[in-house]
């Protein structure tokens, strides 16, 4: 009953991976990429029916944006639904796309951003900077390749085979996975604050006495300066009107001023 061969489905998955973001723009974001991905589906299902084809082209021109790998699931679902329902399900498909893209982006950014960007990134940074070793970046690359060649095809197939039912059966598992990834991410950040944030105090002369600030700090907590700085940044970033680029400026200013007077040293 399937109108698409395995090979065609694999090609469609590849289309999404390659085309989803090359036409990214402020107006429709991944919308153009989504439309372009679906073109062979539209031609195959509605090629002989100009009215249906027009309807499908317009439906898939909508605004769309999600985490690309999570998009695999949505594209897979979409193809499965249209394959069975044809033009009649166009409104359903539009609703599924717009209702899933937001939550899927949140889940995908946490899972892929945290595991890829933070966990493997931290290991790679730690090994590169502290040991001058290429092993960490090698591990990260293997993860990237696994995502591309194993995980993303798997997610596409999952979406295609399970269709909309996936949302109900998987919703709980995805939420659990997101929570688990968040705990892992937070733990790695706790570790990285110790190894990567190098706040070291100097020796300061005041009122005729010298204070070895670092020795004082060490008595309180190892990496006390790092903890202090992260707490300060966390508090600042919660303030109104503050954003990550301003915070970058604030931290550089702190470094330049305190570094000039040798209150902070390397």
């Amino acid at each position: 009953m399937s109108k698409f061969t395995k090979k065609e489905l694999r090609a469609l998955n590849f289309r999404w991976i390659w085309q989803s973001q090359i036409g990214w723009n402020y107006e429709r974001m991944q919308g153009l990429g989504y439309l372009s991905t679906m073109l062979p589906v539209i031609e195959k299902l509605y090629g002989n029916d100009p009215k249906a084809k027009d309807h499908a082209l317009k439906t898939h021109s909508q605004f769309f944006n999600t985490q690309p790998a999570m998009g695999d699931i949505i594209v897979g679902m979409d193809i499965a639904i249209e394959e069975v329902g044809g033009e009649n399900v166009m409104e359903t498909v539009a609703a599924i796309k717009s209702s899933l893209m937001g939550p899927f982006a949140g889940i995908g950014d946490t899972i892929f951003g945290v595991i890829g960007g933070t966990v493997f990134g931290s290991i790679a940074v730690d090994m590169a900077v502290n040991d001058k070793s290429y092993i960490g970046i090698g591990i990260w690359t293997i993860w990237n390749l696994l995502v591309l060649f194993a995980l993303r095809p798997l997610m596409f197939n999952l979406g295609y085979k399970q269709g909309v039912t996936l949302v109900t059966t998987m919703a709980h598992k995805l939420r659990a996975l997101t929570e688990a990834a968040a705990a892992l991410g937070v733990m790695v950040v706790g570790a990285m604050v110790s190894t990567m944030v190098g706040v070291k105090f100097g020796v300061v002369k005041a009122a005729g006495t010298t204070f070895d600030l670092q020795a004082l700090a060490n008595k309180i907590l190892p990496n006390f300066g790092a903890v202090l700085l992260v707490v300060l940044c966390y508090w600042l970033l919660g303030k109104k009107g503050m954003n990550s680029n301003k915070l970058l400026g604030v931290v550089i200013a702190i470094a330049l001023i305190l570094g000039w007077f040798k209150i902070l040293i390397v």
Partner: protein, 253 residues
């Protein structure tokens, strides 16, 4: 100061453009900050310098993702530039921030420009949707690769072509205290990325793991990979607990 040959500038420019396309699609890591550093290092004959420069700049970006299409500092271009110019210089640590941060933030506008330029192709595609010209719609999407690739290739080309002589004159003018400040900045800047991530993640809820990660490294000197493995073990337990409680139904809760 290392002067670059024209072929080196050209190779790095082409890499920058292609790497961006990889970041948008396959994401094997060509556009990664460390990877780009290593590649640039290979081209200028000092891969280990690229590894360290890339690693340091990557540490500023660990918590920063392009969530929802936001433009973020372009540390990839920065890694290329610093690796290309820093060969044979003392104080590389200071240069990573002194030149890396301005380059990374100034080049944000190229990213914005690309995302904006592609709206033109979107409008053309909208026209082809009306006429039903499928081939042209796909072409419009593909044309988006041009602004994207240029958004990384152009800044790299200009920075590498004109940068070295500029850097030379800046270096002569900068007082030693300021260089010391930039070295300090290089050490403490990772805090920014981590903070962004802590704001993004449910940190308060996971405070126990934050403390655990900190203690494992600060007091027990466990390597980061080891902490990640303990974290993975914790994650598996959390996942199991959450999914099992679901199967048990509402009675358990």
């Amino acid at each position: 100061m290392q002067q670059l040959e024209l072929w080196q500038v050209v190779v790095l420019t082409v890499w920058a453009g292609l790497a961006m396309l990889d970041a948008l699609s396959f994401n094997v890591g060509m556009n990664g900050i460390i990877q780009t550093g290593i590649f640039t290092g290979l081209i200028v004959g000092n891969p280990e310098l690229g590894l360290v420069v890339g690693g340091t700049l990557q540490s500023y970006a660990l918590g920063i993702g392009t969530y929802g299409g936001a433009s973020i500092p372009n540390y990839t271009t920065a890694a290329m530039f610093v690796t290309a110019i820093a060969g044979g210089l003392d104080n590389v640590e200071a240069f990573i921030t002194m030149y890396g941060i301005p380059i990374a933030t100034l080049t944000i506008m190229f990213d914005v420009a690309a995302r904006f330029a592609n709206t033109a192709f979107q409008h053309l595609a909208d026209g082809y949707v009306v006429t039903g010209d499928v081939k042209k719609i796909e072409l419009m999407n593909w044309l988006g690769t041009i602004p994207w690739a240029l958004s990384r290739a152009l800044p790299v080309f200009f920075a590498l072509y004109f940068g070295p002589s500029l850097v030379d004159s800046i270096n002569k003018a900068v007082p030693a205290q300021l260089v010391a400040g930039f070295r300090v900045a290089g050490k403490i800047l990772p805090a920014v990325g981590f903070t962004i991530l802590l704001r993004y993640l449910p940190t308060i809820k996971n405070a126990a793991y934050l403390i655990l990660g900190f203690v494992l490294v600060s007091y027990l000197s466990v390597p980061v990979l080891g902490v990640a493995l303990i974290g993975a073990a914790a994650a598996i337990l959390i996942f199991k607990k959450l999914t099992e409680s679901a199967q048990g139904g509402d009675i358990d809760e």
